[in-house]
Symmetry: D2
Subunit: 225 residues, 4 copies
């Protein structure tokens, strides 16, 4: 079932040890608790090998970090959409800056996700690629200037014109596509600024994962909405 409720917080677990295996499970449970306590929609995007484990234990949406542009068959080492779905993923990140994809492959995975009723979140790096992504018709476009990822400098403050420009360009091409804002976001002020700029949520990672107390960091994140 697709994600519809916003504001939305997606936590990209990446490949940190702090968000792997048993610790991934704890982090997902923190997300779930904060979602329940605050009413803000929270989704977890763990590593592929953790999808089943988390899906068995939490009720929040679980997304894949990446789906390979392949159909069923002989594709050793690929993340197959059908496998991710059966493991419990209800959507996927696509084209994250740490896993960029070819244009035709982004289109293919968005189409496959749509056909499978899974939420598609295409990551982009600037206004032009955000507009291009919108033309492919995903559920969400997450704009993340790569130079700010992991920087602790929130895009909503450092380059607000990129967020505003992306929102405008995306809505101009396809008003049904919703916009998330990523890169450097970790505090309640960052998130409020992101929403004020027209986004409907955030995609974040190390700011929460590496925080001394991730649950507390999540509570702070949504405190100013």
């Amino acid at each position: 079932m697709k994600i519809t409720q916003t504001p939305l917080v997606i936590l990209n677990f990446k490949t940190y040890l702090e968000s792997t295996g048993e610790k991934a499970l704890q982090l997902a449970m923190a997300l779930e608790q904060v979602a329940e306590e605050t009413g803000v929609n929270m989704a977890a995007a763990p590593q592929g090998a953790d999808i089943w484990r988390l899906s068995q234990e939490v009720e929040i949406p679980v997304l894949a970090q990446h789906i390979d542009p392949v159909d069923v068959g002989g594709h050793t080492g690929s993340m197959l959409l059908e496998c991710a779905k059966e493991a419990g993923a209800s959507g996927t990140l696509i084209n994250h800056s740490e896993r960029r994809m070819q244009l035709a492959d982004i289109d293919l995975v968005v189409s496959k996700a749509t056909a499978a009723d899974m939420t598609s979140v295409v990551c982009t790096n600037n206004i032009q690629t955000s507009a291009a992504a919108a033309a492919l018709g995903p559920d969400f476009v997450a704009i993340e200037p790569p130079e700010l990822i992991g920087s602790g400098i929130p895009v909503s403050k450092a380059e607000p014109e990129i967020v505003e420009g992306s929102v405008a360009a995306i809505k101009d091409i396809n008003p049904a596509v919703r916009v998330l804002c990523g890169a450097g976001i970790s505090t309640g002020e960052d998130m409020k600024a992101a929403l004020d700029l027209g986004s409907e949520g955030v995609l974040l990672a190390s700011g929460i994962i590496l925080a001394p107390d991730p649950k507390k960091a999540l509570l702070d994140l949504v405190s100013k909405i």
Copy 2:
């Protein structure tokens, strides 16, 4: 200087022996002769190592087949835009189905080409990716369903709705972007059909390169315009 005159015929030399080195030069001269005789604008897209050699000998536009998404510096084995330009290229194909690129890299090379006053031709595979490419603001989008490339079955006949749909989607997003039509095109009828569907030219390869008499094939190609 950018290509402006249409209808436009771009011949992608690919990596056939029939379009390599000395034979690439002969093919470029055939293109030039047909351009002069018929008044139809013709451009050659030879292999990188043949760009300088052709540019010294012919007056028609010479395009690179690919530019790598890198800036000057330490990038061994890359095709640098600045090098292609100094060698005589006045534009480049981008994201050909045999050399697909990541979305952010297509955007980067289109931007670099624009800044260098070089013609950018982004190749796409369906209506959605054509729309996405248009959002990046290239000079041309060349729509080529991969399954028809080298097939001898012209896209303008086999899947006219893809050409028409792409033209409509591209113009809707950016009316300044012009559309070329590729894949399977080799005869005068194919080209006429392509233009009738709203494209302003064709991108072709083996149908001409491997013809017994390429010059004759080119003359036939433009005979029904």
Copy 3:
């Protein structure tokens, strides 16, 4: 704990629906039963998202199909060795022909697997690359001429000189590296021929996965040892 017992049968689950999710679990249980009944060592290489699920249910070795050449940190969409291990993988395929890797990356993943006490199985396509792989010191080299993969034509019959030549070249460089034989193998005769040529086991996939009765096919496979 590393795999030591041979002859060894590794079943690469690839991305077939017949070896995904619930069906992957059934297939792993069939492998386990045949291993118990016959005493032949059997390992399962499921998709990443199925590793945890299978590891919880079966006692046979579970291998990843691929590990990305990254360390812990910001690597969205990657298969991290540490995550695969915690999910239950005791080894990994490396450089399968459907997921070829750069030379330096093969070396990195072999080194990481060795440091983590995980079994490394490097796939190769001919005698020279088998020799090269042996120089990297993996536990196993699995020789699979790509043109025979999924063909139903066993390498042990079609190109026995590649298997013999690979065994000789590998042992010459590093006698501790053991050799598996893949591509087209599915019957007891195929496996016997593979062992007679000097290999210590087989890597197989569709011949078993798509068989009407995989357990029966496995029993046949090891019937002539």
Copy 4:
């Protein structure tokens, strides 16, 4: 015709503006002059689009920086060995750390170069990959620890054990393969140290290309042999 005379100096032009087009030609002429004046064998590895231009003007060996692992046919944007050869290249770098290749592709290009009587220089990053490369039978292996490339810190001083270990491992596997030493080398002392460690030449780039007077830098480089 293959390169046989050592010591050998290969200058990788990379994609610096200082080694592009007209400036690439000047640099190649400086290499030629120093080769004539000192009797030391010097080769130029310019960008693909400069190969023909340089080959027409200088007598020293010209190498490609990269050859794509493709045969003649439909491979848009690839550097075809046959095209590089006709343009004047007598050999090629393979698997440079800035253009790493898959193991099977390195093998393919080494084989193609050998069949075409062109010099093959496989770049590697450590002792294990040097040994692996030797097993593929190229003419030269050039060992370049990536962390020292462009650093100004010569590998021959910073990590002499990697050079010595690579020479030993390579000769152990195939005594006919000759070893070059790269990364951080720019002075006469660096080159002497490289030769003393068992290498038969050097592969270098920015230390010469970006020097105020490249010819003078080259004369210094070979002054202590």
